[in-house]
Structures are given as C-alpha cells and as structure tokens.
C-alpha cells in the first residue's frame, strides 16, 4: 500500500490489497480542531475484500461491482474495452466532442486539482487528483486504440496491465468524484474531468450492468416501476399529502387543500419525493406560499408525475432519457403550461438542461426553477415578511446543479437577504461554491462503508465552510444556527454530516430548505414554522 503522496499512476495495476490509504485529512476549523472530534473509518471486513473491489482505497461505493470467477474476468475486460470504444463513436453524440477534447488536450497543469474539494479534504491524496482517473483512462485507451500504444506500449504511456483489478479500481474511482464540475469551471482549456468521470460510470452501467444499487435497481428502476425511487406510489403519496394538510392546519391555523391533478394549471410543481418522507415541511411550505400568493398550480399524482428525481444523469444516458420523457409525458397529459422544479438540484439540471433536447415541440413542456418564481413573489410583495422572525444566523449552501450548472445565483440570495437579518455567505459561494459532498448520488449511497467516505472526505470541505461561516457563533450553544440548502440531496448529505459530527447536539447547528425560512418569516402567520426541536421527538 502506498502512502497517499507517493502513489503513481502506473500503480493502478499493482497486486496489492489496497492501493492507497487515506492517511491524512484536512484539519477542521474550531471547535473541531481538537483530537477525538470525529469517529475513525470503519474497518474493512475480510468478507468484503473477497467479494468487492476494496483494493483501491478500502471504500466500497459500487456494491454491484463484485469479483467474478477467473474465467469471467476476460469477458469483463472485453466488455469494458468495447464500451470504451463506444464512447468515441458518433452515437455518444452529446458527449463525444467534450470527451475527445478532454482526452486529447489536457496539459496536466493541475489547476483542476486545486479546485477539487475531495483532493483538498484529503490533503492532496494523489488518488483523488481529478486527472488521476482521466490519466488511467487515457492509458487504457492508448493501449487498445492507438497505433503507438499497440506497438510501443510503455514508451508512449500505455504501460499498465489491463485486468479485472485495474478496471474495477477505475470503476470505484469513478465514484470518488461528486461530478460537481468545479474542476471543469476552472480548467484554462475548458476540459471537463467531471464529465469524463461520468463517462466511465456510463461504461459500467450501460455495458456491464454495474451501478450502485441505490442509484439503479433501487433508484431509477424502482422509479419507473412504482413512480418514485422511494417506492412511494400514488396511494402513499395521497396519504402523505393528507397528513401534510393536517400538519399545516395545526402549525399555521390554515386549512389548505393541496391541489392535485388540476387540469390546465399554469404550474405543475414537482418535488423530489424524498421530501414527502423525510422533510414534509418543505413541500408543505411550498403549498402555503403558493396558496398565499394565489398561484394557479398543482401537483400530479400520476405515475412519473410526482417524483422529479432523475438519477440517470449521474450514471446512465438511457435511464436519464427514459425517466425524463415519461416526466414530460405526465405533465403533457395534465395540460399544464410549465413544470416548476422544487428544491432539488439534480432535478433542476436533469429536466431543464440534460433533457432539453431529448424531445421537442409537442412532446415538450417548458421547465423552470422555483427560485426565480419565489423571488418574484417576494420582490413584488405578493408575499410579505417580518424578517425579525428569522432572528438567527443563517448561511446558504449553493447546490452545484443550481449555481454552476444553471447560473441561478441571485434569486435565492435576494430572498434570504430580504428575510434573514443574520445572513452570512460561505466562502467561496455562488458559482465558485463547493459541493455538499452528497452530489452525483453520494447522498443516497448508504451501503457498506461508503458513508465513511462521504462523512469524512467528500462533505469535509463543506462542513468546514459551515463552521467558518458561523465563526464564533458555533461555540455558543444558545444560538440556533441554520444552514439553508435548497436541494434534497444536499440536505441529505448535510443531515448525515451534522449527525456524524454531532453538530446539532453539541453546537445547535440546524439545516433545512429555503421555503421553510420564508414561511417562518411570513407576516400573515403568527406561530413560528421552524421550531428547531428534534422532529423525531415529541
């Protein structure tokens, strides 16, 4: 096993139990700058070593990437190489050009490394340098697909053995990147190592049928079968909505009938269905605000009409397209004028960007983000607020898909600046933000020891940003502190991070969405909407 700074590219095929150890982590800011403030990595079980690919860094992200019997290994390698060839074919239309440019033009200036939160949080572990995996892919490509590589091998960098271990390690490594594309934004040549990582995931899913269970078989596939990756069916959805209506009345005194399947409404509001199960106060807050503003809106209860998630954009073009087209179809059947995406980052990107040219004309329904609409309601005073009700420190986490991938930066800030006197920015923020560490599926990959990687490594920089944003207020337990994260995945990652570091119990740091803050400050409601008591305690 190499020390993390000694690891070299050619080690990727090395016969060893583990390529590299995560032996150093970025120190956290006060009060987490003392020893013993975080748990250690869970020990890798021997049974896991036999079954999975633990030979990269000891973490298992891809629980379906299991060691085949020896005769099957060649088939595996062959399929991978076949899939790699397809990435460079015309049929990979949307990605072919940026992929080819990224493969050919990287000058290894390493500007991207400085931008990567995972590289930063591990004190520059070579394995997580954004171009490490790209370079491995280049070596494999050279070896099989260039004349020089075939003839001259190691003299032109095609110097690694390609076997199950090498490729499985690359497969795992494709799940050590959040696809946040901060590296792509900073690359002086405009190359995109984030996209390249996703291309590797695509080979595994589309050619080898290998993707993390919670993204694929219990994610996309479940969504296409039941209507939601949570498994929430129409009946369960209606039950949840009924519960929410009762809860709204109790909390605010208002009797609201949440509109469902209203034909020809202006807005079809779609949520990440995880919200209904884990954070029902978020869709409830949307209902309160939209009703108060008198919008002509509806939810859908039809199959593929209520869950806006599309995990396909993290690993598989075919799944992404299947889901997106059925979501458009559900909106079309309802006859709404536009789809408005609630507080879910990847759903923003999936529906508004990725799916934009998957269909057109009659089959397409315009897609908008909820954020500019909410800001418009605030700006025009269709909603009025008493900011004094949000009299606690608030910081804003920017979901990568909303800021970097879509350029929606100001509306959410304008709202918070209007309703939260204690607002302070994180550093950096906006399009330069850091990922929450849950991006690209990490927030929902809860198998084996992957949560360790998320909590200790991929969310580390974000946790430190939160600590620094609250500064001296962190240590004061009497002050409630609120991390506003307008995205379900980000909330999942932040929830787990705060629990892992016991930051709520010890330092009174809370998290939630944007609309909850808005309802909390509404001048027309007397009772506070945010209570900051533990929601799982009576």
């Amino acid at each position: 096993m190499s020390k993390q700074l000694d690891l070299q590219l050619k080690d990727i095929d090395k016969k060893t139990d583990r390529l590299v150890e995560i032996d150093s982590l970025m120190p956290l800011s006060a009060p987490y700058d003392k020893e013993g403030m975080e748990p250690d990595f869970v020990k890798v079980k021997d049974a896991w070593k036999e079954k999975y690919c633990t030979s990269l860094d000891g973490i298992i992200g891809v629980d379906t990437l299991v060691r085949p019997s020896t005769p099957e290994e060649d088939k595996f390698v062959h399929k991978f190489i076949n899939g790699l060839a397809k990435l460079f074919a015309d049929s990979n239309k949307n990605f072919l050009q940026p992929l080819t440019l990224t493969m050919e033009y990287c000058v290894k200036c390493n500007t991207c490394s400085e931008a990567c939160h995972i590289y930063k949080s591990t004190n520059q572990n070579e394995l997580y340098r954004p171009i490490f995996r790209s370079e491995v892919l280049r070596k494999i490509y050279k070896k099989y697909f260039t004349r020089g590589g075939k003839l001259l091998g190691k003299f032109v960098g095609a110097d690694i053995d390609i076997n199950w271990e090498t490729i499985a390690r690359l497969g795992e490594l494709a799940y050590r990147c959040n696809l946040c594309r901060r590296c792509a934004q900073t690359c002086p040549l405009g190359l995109d190592n984030g996209m390249l990582t996703r291309e590797i995931r695509k080979i595994f899913s589309q050619e080898l049928g290998i993707a993390p269970t919670f993204l694929h078989s219990k994610g996309s596939v479940r969504q296409l079968e039941t209507g939601s990756s949570t498994g929430i069916t129409k009946a369960a959805l209606l039950d949840n909505l009924e519960f929410m209506e009762e809860d709204i009345e109790e909390k605010t005194g208002r009797k609201i009938k949440i509109p469902i399947d209203k034909k020809s409404a202006d807005i079809l509001l779609t949520h990440n269905t995880g919200e209904f199960m884990a954070w029902p106060e978020n869709p409830a807050a949307f209902a309160i605000l939209f009703e108060e503003a008198g919008l002509n809106w509806t939810l859908s209860s039809s199959m593929m009409g209520y869950d806006n998630v599309n995990y396909g954009i993290w690993y598989d073009d075919n799944m992404a397209q299947k889901i997106a087209l059925q979501q458009f179809q559900a909106a079309k059947e309802l006859g709404v004028r536009r789809i408005v995406i609630g507080e879910c980052g990847h759903a923003h990107k999936a529906a508004a960007i990725s799916a934009d040219r998957m269909t057109y004309g009659e089959n397409k329904v315009p897609v908008e983000s909820c954020l500019p609409i909410l800001w418009e309601l605030v700006r025009t005073k269709r909603l009025t607020f008493n900011p004094a009700k949000n009299n606690f420190p608030v910081t804003l986490h920017d979901p990568c898909n909303v800021v970097r991938q879509m350029g929606i930066v100001q509306p959410q800030r304008n709202i918070i600046k209007t309703i939260c006197p204690g607002f302070r920015e994180m550093t950096p923020h906006g399009v330069d933000n850091y990922c929450c560490g849950g991006g690209s599926g990490f927030a929902i990959m809860q198998s084996l020891n992957f949560a360790d990687f998320r909590n200790k490594v991929s969310t580390r920089v974000k946790f430190d940003q939160i600590l620094r944003a609250f500064g001296d207020d962190v240590g004061n337990r009497d002050i409630v502190k609120y991390v506003c994260a307008p995205c379900s995945n980000c909330k999942g990652a932040i929830r787990d991070m705060l629990a892992y570091y016991q930051a709520t119990d010890k330092f009174n740091i809370h998290y939630g969405g944007l609309v909850e803050l808005m309802v909390n400050a509404l001048s027309t409601i007397d009772k506070p909407y945010l209570t900051f008591t533990d929601e799982l305690m009576p």
């Binding site: 049974a47 896991w48 629980d63 919670f214 219990k218 994610g219 479940r222 039941t226 939601s228 990756s229 949570t230 498994g231 929430i232 069916t233 009946a235 369960a236 039950d239 949840n240 519960f243 809860d247 990440n272 269905t273 995880g274 919200e275 209904f276 199960m277 884990a278 029902p280 869950d307 998630v309 879910c344 927030a443 929902i444 809860q446 198998s447 084996l448 379900s488 995945n489 999942g492 629990a499 533990d534 929601e535 799982l536 305690m537 009576p538």
Partner: protein
Amino acid sequence: MDFIEIDSKKIELNEDGFLKELGEWNTGVAEAISLQEGIELSEKHWIVITFVREYYTKYNVPPMMKKVLKSTGLNLKELFSNNPVESVMKIAGLPKPTGCV
C-alpha cells in the same frame, strides 16, 4: 454473510444488517436483531414496530417518521438510535429505505 441464530436456525442478514428474506421475520427475529443494534425491546418499541409494519403492508413504503411520531407520541431517537428510520425498519424486518430520504 452475517446472520442471526434462533433456535439453532440461521437467518441471513444482508451486509447492511437487514433481513435477506423478509418473510422470515417474526417477533423472535425482531428481538435478535434489536440486540445486535444494542436495543432491548419494550412495549413502546413494539407500538412503533407494529405501526411501521402495518403501514408498510398497506403502502409498500415506510411511513414518514413524522407520522410515526404523531401517531404513537413516542420519542423515536430515544427508543431506537440516532438514525431511527433505519433502525426501526431493520428491527421490523423491512427493507432499507431508498431514494433521497
């Protein structure tokens, strides 16, 4: 493969500690899994387990925990763990929750 043993019968768990075959669940299995979780089941625990199982049978998904709390009036964190959703589902012999929850 992890397993629990009841009356010298081995019952398999998956790597995340959930029952492999949901049909193998009974109250004895619940007791055994809860011991692994470091929880001793009381009457209050059973109120929660029964509620969650009934909801699951009806809807095929776990209930929102807020609903469990409201319906039972019990402190889930105190009864189960810091991650009560997983813990309850595990002991109730139901699958691990999926999706962005």
